[in-house]
Symmetry: C2
């Protein structure tokens, strides 16, 4: 029961010139399941990514980071579901390298030009031979218009595919942005991982793209939380093929900021769709913290609210329980917080001011906001002018059921 | 359905010479409810406490801290349920002060010799007149052997009273330690708060007791977590009356360490009983982190495991889901953690070594440990020689029900 998760029609998912995608069945974990996806990228494509900060980084994450740090142009991605190749030690690294080597050989590339991604059960050996055996079929299947299919083939426990696609004008030229993501909790450790792949036919140097992907992640995939858990495999990749003829080589180029904004909007939509499809969620919550002194403290307060099981269950119950939100602000760890300066809104309703219940607040107004499927929580700290925003969902019976019953 | 929560028989709860307790009905929130408790302490009693670090500190917490910082000997405690006097601003502070003044007048003391405590609904004005009107009845009821009754009268959503009582030998003399606590989540914001009151007839200077109560809290009430939420009103108080004739005036006194150990054991039992009665819990978990470089990092890892909703639901399901525990260790925020050095045990079963599944691990063994109502999770980090321990419970359907349905 995803919350307002818009799935575009197949015809509204624009191919990204310079990319081709192929999908096949490798039988990683289940038979008759399209579990292997290959992206091929034209020469000259700039690729950059951000990865999980979990210290248990899966083997493919370690290989991705090494290959992205190298100077070979990335020319292909290979993604399997069914097995995360995480907690698999040295044999896991070897399996990820073997996959890259096999695909490189087939495509007449170097192994360092391939990025591997895995999602699925952890602590089990990757059936690398089955993946390698299926690579020719995946490559043979590659077509520019397979983004819609890829949004499905990378799914694990997702109930819905997550796709964002649009065309924008950039300095008088049209460029395409299409992306897909997967993930149904921040982590679902036996069917792990959030993945995001965002492509554009705008051109951008790798030197410009690398810091940009970090900034974009910090406004999208790094601003969502379902349960506070961070997977071993989380990865977000941007691919800029340049096939549109648009080439941005300087941050001073006026098209640079416009492209970053459009990519940020796309990434935020793909990230929010993960929350909208989160395990057992029934409400989508935007937690916006204003008037913070620093980004760090804005995020402390926002995540404190977003992670509180008591706040999350109150949202599940559509209960405007101010005490729980104020408490979560109070223990967020902002040391010198003056609670008498705090104002809190639910949607457009001011519910607390000067750290206590607002004199004009009527519970019926709070109730009205909480009854909706999408809820904005705004907190003003009265300490500065920094605003930051986190997206999350409620905590339901269904969440407990899914996560308690998963392996049985 | 509290987990192995031992309630002593009334006759096994020893009075603490030098203390008397009286209980009455003030009608704070409900009629016919014994909601007001008064402790009277003999002159010369040393009293010290630790309080919530939530920035939204309730009015009584603020008054307690001020009175304990003063030089007047504390001679009485007054505790009401039904209303937490939190988020109540200046009128709330006035109400707490009025309560102290009224009790001081009745007892011919100064207001600064009284400590007030409140637990119950927050963001609502304290009905201070009803409390003041009931004080004479509470004082008239005071008796040395009312600790058992007080364990009941301070309860809010607790399903069971929490009591610890024993006598120990201290340098050839017998002293009594009796304590009570309440709380059913780390916070239950409309019926808020964890409270702990521990009395002994051993004598100890206030100068020695103040740092001791902090050390004891750090090994007991500051090592439990139900849902990561911290209340506005949490308070833990130790009262040492000296009525036994034992008087410890120096930390070099050999009885000092023995008393601290006994008080720590008592406080840990009172704290653990809160977890054992936690909302919806079915399992009691001890998370012990060994071989840490510092206490801080041991606690980061322990709380990361203890707070993970995915770990907690796996325990609810009796599912030895290693991936969830390893992941929680990985994202605990210990920056340079080398996961290849980590060993993990469930009870006596080594389940992971070198950061992956242990070669000798059989899932049936993990299953056997997880099926029990009490589970020990041990993590060795391979970084140093610091050990620390946190106590928590699982996350059940019942937790969601209690917290989603509470106000409706």
């Amino acid at each position: 029961m995803a919350i307002n998760l818009n799935i575009p029609a197949r015809n509204d998912v624009f191919p990204v010139p310079g990319t081709r995608i192929g999908i096949t069945e490798a039988g990683v974990r289940k038979a008759n399941h399209r579990d292997l996806t290959v992206f091929l990228l034209d020469e000259g494509t700039s690729v950059a990514g951000v990865f999980t900060r979990n210290r248990f980084r899966a083997a493919p994450v370690q290989i991705c980071e090494a290959h992205l740090a190298g100077n070979s142009g990335i020319r292909a991605l290979v993604i399997n579901t069914g097995n995360a190749n995480a907690g698999t030690g040295v044999p896991g690294l070897q399996a990820a390298r073997q996959t890259c080597e096999a695909l490189a050989k087939q495509l007449h590339l170097e192994s360092g030009q391939i990025l591997p991604f895995s999602t699925g059960v952890i602590l089990e050996p990757l059936p690398v031979n089955r993946i390698i055996a299926a690579l020719p079929a995946a490559v043979a299947d590659t077509r520019p218009d397979h983004w819609f299919e890829a949004a499905h083939s990378i799914m694990t426990t997702d109930t819905q595919p997550k796709i964002h696609s649009r065309k924008i004008e950039l300095g008088g030229q049209t460029v395409t942005l299409t992306g897909i993501s997967k993930g149904a909790g921040m982590i679902h450790p036996n069917m792990a991982t959030m993945l995001g792949f965002l492509g554009t036919d705008a051109g951008l140097t790798t030197a410009l793209l690398r810091p940009m992907v970090k900034r974009i992640a910090d406004r999208s995939f790094n601003r969502i939380t379902v349960d506070g858990d961070t997977s071993t495999n989380d990865s977000f990749i941007i691919m800029a093929t340049g096939a549109s003829g648009v080439l941005i080589e300087s941050a001073a180029d006026p098209r640079f900021a416009a492209l970053e904004q459009a990519l940020t909007d796309a990434a935020r939509d793909l990230a929010q769709k993960i929350v909208r499809d989160a395990e057992g969620s029934t409400k989508f919550m935007t937690i916006q913290v204003e008037q913070a002194a620093t980004t760090e403290e804005a995020l402390k307060v926002a995540y404190s609210i977003a992670h509180s099981p008591l706040v999350k269950t109150a949202f599940f119950a559509s209960d405007p329980n101010l005490g729980r939100i104020l408490c979560a602000i109070g223990y967020s760890g902002v040391e010198d917080l003056d609670v008498s300066r705090i104002t809190l809104w639910l949607g457009d309703v001011r519910v607390a001011s000067h750290g206590g219940r607002d004199p004009g607040y009527q519970e019926a107004d709070g109730q009205r906001v909480m009854a909706a499927a999408e809820i904005l929580v705004r907190v003003a700290l009265g300490r500065g002018d920094v605003t930051d925003t986190v997206y999350t969902c409620d905590l339901s019976h269904e969440y407990v059921s899914i996560n308690a019953d998963y392996r049985s």
